[in-house]
Structure formats: C-alpha cells, structure tokens
Amino acid sequence: MEYIISVLLSGVSVGGQYALIAIGYTMVYGILRLINFAHGDVFMVAGLMGIYLSASMPLYVALPLVIVLTAVLAFCIERVAYKPLRSAPRMSVMISAIGVSYLLQNTATYITGAQPMTYPTIPFLSDTVVIAGTPTKWAVLLTPVLVLALVIGLTQLINHTKVGMAMRAVSKDFETAQLMGIKINNTISATFVIGSLLAAVGSVLYFTNYTAVTPTIGALPGLKAFVAAVFGGIGSIPGAVIGAFIIGICETIIKGLPAAWDVSVFSDAFTFALLIIVLVFKPTGLFGEKATDKV
C-alpha cells in the first residue's frame, strides 16, 4: 500500500513537471503550428540559470529572476529565430527551431565545460515529508497543486481576458485577427513568454528531484512533454496537461514494477508505444481538433 502511494505520488509529480513543459509546446503549436524544438533546451537553460544565479544571490531573489530571464530568453528566441520566418514555409521555421536547440545546448556546454552541475537545495521544496508512511519531498506534493493552480489561471487568462481572446483569434486566423487591430507579433510573443514561464517553474520542480543539470538534460523531458502534448491533442491545453499526467504516472508505474520482471528500463519505450497506440485510434490525440495539419 505504502509502495503504491509512493509510486502514485511520484507519478503525479513527474506528470506535473511534464505538464508544465507540455503547455509551452501546445500553446506555441496552437498559434504558429510550430513544434518548438528549442523548448526543452529553454527548460535546461532555466535549470542552469537557477544554479548560477543562486550562487551569487539568495534564493528568493534568484528563483523569480530565473523565471523572468527564461521568459526574456524565449521572447528573444522568437523575435530572432522565428519572427523573420513568419511567411516562410513551416519546415523552415522548424529547422530554425532545431538550430536554436543546438545553439542553446552548445552554449551550455561551453559555459559549464560539459560538467554536470548540481542544482541548489531549495529549503522547504527539498525537505522531506511523510505521507501515509511514505517519505517524500515537499516538491513532489506541491507539484500537482501548483500545476493545477497555474492551469486554472492560464485557462482564465485565455478565456476571459483580452490577451487571451487575441490568442484564440490569432491561432485561428492571422489575417482576420490583424483586421481586428490585433498586433499578431505581440500576441505570439505573449504565447512564448507564457510557455517559458511555465517551463521555468517546471525546471525548479524537476531539478529539485533530479539535481544534476547537463547541457542535454532538456532533451528527454522535452521530448516526453512533446509526446504528452501530441497525446492530449496538440494545440489543446487541457489535453497537454492530462496527457502529461497519464505519461508521468504510467512511466513511474513501469519503473516501479518488481525488479525481477526487469521491465523498468523500458519505461521510455513504453511512453512512445502509448503515443503510437493512441494516434492509431485517435490521430488527433485525446482532445485534438478535427482539422489539424501537422508538420
């Protein structure tokens, strides 16, 4: 019983972290029809910034600063690498995204000397708490709550504010949105900023659990968050969140199966098998729109 609770707790927590990354993928896809391959690396950079900034200032300054700087980074990436390609074929933008991904990884390698860096211990988040006889970190408990709060906030923003209305309009029809007086570039920037804010929060939670930050660390969570977004129906925020939780929980369950079965190494393969199965039966994902055109 304790074991089951521990697996579920950690599954929900991993899922929550994926969800925070997956929202960035799905929002950017929703508005630009672009799979932003650099998103996982932005997540990695947020981790590195957490390490470097916390070395020179107290955490209560460093962590908010990490979140702000990550948003600035995403804003700059969009302006420099994607905006000039607004009317280019979608494939060109995607290649630009892959380029940005490598640029971030290489820069991180250059700065860190390819050494794994240790994420700071955050008081409270890293503290241990005992739930139903299972010791776990506060971060694990807090993740789903935080994710839920952020998702509710985001949904309110999208459904009940002017910016949100503009986002919905731009994601449907660039040109008509412009005719309404909406500045589409600002709206697109807002989308990148929101996605990266969430990824930065995700990085704090993620690296509190897995404390080593390497230049390629963004790849796997990034990929799984992307899978979660596709699984849930890319472009749909609730889809991405639910997809992320399902993948996180399944993955942890497989990792937690008895060692004698020797299947835990296949947990990542399972993630992708799940994706394939869902896409066979429901090509647009759980909550996907009917008419999506994919890259």
Binding site: K162, M165, A166, R168, A169, K172, D173, E175, T176, Q178, L179, M180, G181, I182, K183
Partner: protein, 231 residues
C-alpha cells in the same frame, strides 16, 4: 474622405493592381465592380494594410496612411469585412463582436446595442459559437464585428458571396441603413446588379486598371457594363 492615387500592388512579381486612382467621398456608398482577378480584393487589402503597395499613395482625409500596419489603419477608422466572412468559429457571437472592438478601451455597451438593433438575430445567438451560425448570420456577424471598431469607412469584400438572393437583399438593406447612420462604405462585388443599385458612385476594375466610372445609375445603363457584368 479616402483618396487613392496611382496605387500599384504586386504579388510575387505579378502586378495585380496597375496604378488606379479613385476617391470615396464622405457619406457615400462607393463600389468597385469587376470580374474575378481584376484586383478588387487586392485594392481593399492594400488600403487595410494587409499588403504593402508597390507604389502610390492612400490618403484618409488629409492624412497619408500608405503602408501603415493593419492595427494603425483600424485605429484611424477604416475597417474591412473580409471575403468569406471569416468570423472566428470557436468564439461566441459576443466574443466576435468584442474582438471587433479590440483596440478600444471605452465602454462598448452602446455599440453592442447598436449592432444588436441592426441585427436582432445576433442578440438571440450571442452565446452561440460563431461557427454554428448560418452563412447569412455569419455575414451579419462579420458586419457587426466591423462596426464595433466604430469605423468612419467600412470596406466590404463580396458580402453577397455564397448567400441566397433573399439574404443578399437583406444584407444590402442593412448596408444602406448603416450608410444612412453615417458610415461611408466602399464595397466590392461580383454581383454588379445589386452593387450598382446600392452605390452612389461606381468604378469598373479590369485586370488591375479602372476602365469606367460614374454614378450607379449611369453604369447600370452603360452598354459595356450591361454586356460584361449584368448579362
């Protein structure tokens, strides 16, 4: 009110509009008629700021508005009801109307009431997703959405496209009513008969050049127009 001088617009090396001059006097309904591909939509798109003209000037009253971005054009008081209506299908009717007033920060109640009075059907359906409306209702919504920006000049691209004759008549009645209430209208149409009956001034556009102009009545009785556009 609107003056177009020697407007030229190119798409990828092909000149779609080859230097046209015309004026839209304040308070009038002006129409550009012409066949498919004559450059009518391109002209409106250039005025709205969606495409940059290759040459020529566009003046609103005394102000040069050539090459401004679409949001600046909207804030100057020019709006475009696009071809095929292009309502936002997932947004509700009310949200579509509100997004038409996107640049405004003042109270929208009076304008909502104005639009709902013009189109009572939209009021009944205000909570419905716009994608569930019929073609005629979507056209009403597209017009209502444009009015929410409180325009001085409303441009309309083929408002009759794909609508039943009875619905088209209704739309043109509304256009006249909106005009009576002080909005200048620039209308482009393939349905020349309807457009000429409605317009004060009309221009004929052929492969990027203006070939004829006159009052609506004059062109209705012009032999060349009769032959080419009225059948």
């Amino acid at each position: 009110m609107l003056r177009i001088d020697n407007l030229k617009v190119s798409y990828g090396g092909i000149e779609a509009v080859k230097g046209i001059d015309f004026v839209v006097p304040e308070g009038e309904i002006v129409t550009l008629i012409g066949a498919n591909g004559a450059g009518k939509s391109t002209t409106l798109r250039a005025i709205a700021g969606l495409v940059k003209p290759a040459a020529g000037r566009i003046h609103l009253q005394a102000e040069d508005i050539t090459g401004l971005t679409p949001d600046r054009i909207v804030s100057k008081g020019i709006t475009l009801v696009p071809e095929g209506r292009r309502v936002f299908p997932d947004l509700t009717v009310l949200e579509n109307l509100k997004i038409g007033a996107y640049l405004r920060t003042d109270n929208l109640e009076d304008d909502l009431k104005w639009v709902y009075d013009l189109f009572p059907r939209l009021k009944e359906r205000s909570w419905q997703a716009a994608g569930t409306l019929s073609g005629g209702e979507q056209q009403m919504l597209a017009v209502g959405r444009a009015l929410m920006s409180r325009p001085k000049l409303m441009m309309m691209d083929e408002p009759s496209l794909g609508l039943a004759p009875l619905v088209v008549r209704g739309i043109f009645d509304i256009i006249k009513e909106i005009n009576r209430q002080g909005v200048t209208i620039l209308l482009i149409e393939q349905n020349a008969n309807m457009a000429l009956h409605t317009a004060n001034t009309a221009y004929v556009l052929e492969t990027g050049r203006l070939t004829l102009s006159g009052t609506g009545d004059e062109l209705l009785h012009n032999e060349a127009v009769k032959k080419a556009y009225l059948g």
